[in-house]
Amino acid sequence: MSVPGYHRPKSVEDAARLLAETDGARCLSGGATLVAMMNASLAEPKAIVSLAGIPELAGIAELANGGFRIGAMTRHAATAADARLAGTLAVLRDAARQIANPVVRNMGTIGGSIGFADPAADYPPALVAANAEVEIVNAAGRRRVAARDFFVDWYTTACGPGEFVTGVHLPPPRPGAGLYRKLARVSGDFAIASVALSAARDAAGVSVRIAVGGCGPRPIRADAADALLSAKFGDAAAAAAAGEALAAAADPVDDVRASAEYRRLVIPRLVAETVAHARAALEAR
């Protein structure tokens, strides 16, 4: 293969322009995905636009509304360690700390991970459960897409040609629980199935968002599951019904990790277990 060209722009605007102007160009963030893909000769960019020199893409910033913006270059380890992501937003921290291993968590970034959109990765369902929005840039400007609409298909996102992810916007954290549970062959593997759940609790009651990873082309969600869990949080029958609704919405395939049939079977169990843990977390508060 030929050696790709290398660019290291200093601003998002320059990066967007380079990406649009350069044939076969691809953004490089932490390299945990792209470099692995290049080593496997699955990705062969003709040019690399490194995002490492753009200050605004690094780190987690609190917004005026009390929410947060996680820059695309933020490493998984930094997201996992940020205590401000509490309450309902703890779902994202919980997912970040379960990604792969310390080496990957120190190199890999949220932008790179979600840009690749492997449905068995940990961030996609967690971002859906957190009701996050993904910030995307192109040469003409920026736009934001709800996480549930960002993940379109296997390895396919709402990013069009010449676009890349600049960050993730999280709503203000609400008191409650946020957690992510993963069933994997070994610690650090991609999920056979995973469940991300956020449960906000206030005087009016409980409001739940739940999403399943590893069981279809994108994070699996069901309005019925959110409604059932919100109406009777912690109720075993409601959790079972929510699990069935999510299993019905799933579209799993057979792969090296597990069969599709096994995944359908395991979703309701993993949902029930996650709800039980979330309930225990709420009661412990």
């Binding site: 496997a40 000769s41 395939v253």
Partner: protein
């Protein structure tokens, strides 16, 4: 992996058979087909671009018709390589046309596909979904061409 599907076209079987064995028309229906060339009446060469997320693979395929029984059945074998790479795709295909209930023709296809090389690193389960989506897209394109021609 086994890929199968079926779709109904609002046209008589003889016409569907003639079109589905017409390389010039097929080139415009097969998703990702960039070129098709007739080597002899039983052999075609085609260039197909397959895209899965960030991965692009361009295959040079040779399609050989093994059995043809107009207007109801075609058996073919496809073999192809991805440029100079060690990716190989091969398939045994059967196409059957039956009169559909209520008029028209039902097109049924079954392919046993094997993929080796770099694309084989992807899970077959996901590739099967992708292949089914391409099959559905083909059906839509083919139906569009035939039915538009019939209406004009």
């Amino acid at each position: 992996m086994r890929i199968e599907g079926s779709f109904v076209v609002a046209a008589p079987r003889e016409r569907v058979f003639a079109e589905i064995t017409n390389p010039a028309l097929m080139a415009g229906c097969i998703p990702g087909c960039e070129a098709i060339e007739v080597i002899d009446p039983k052999t075609y060469r085609a260039r197909i671009l397959i895209e899965v997320g960030p991965i692009k693979a361009r295959f040079n395929l040779v399609v050989e018709v093994k059995e043809e029984a107009p207007p109801e059945r075609v058996v073919s074998v496809t073999r192809g390589e991805e440029g100079t790479r060690a990716s190989v795709i091969s398939s045994n295909n059967e196409l059957v046309l039956v009169p559909a209930e209520g008029g028209g023709t039902e097109v049924k296809y079954v392919s046993e596909v094997s993929v080796t090389g770099r694309l084989g690193k992807f899970g077959l389960g996901m590739m099967k979904k992708k292949a089914e989506a391409l099959g559905a897209k083909f059906a839509e394109n083919f139906r569009g061409k035939i039915e538009a021609a019939a209406a004009s």
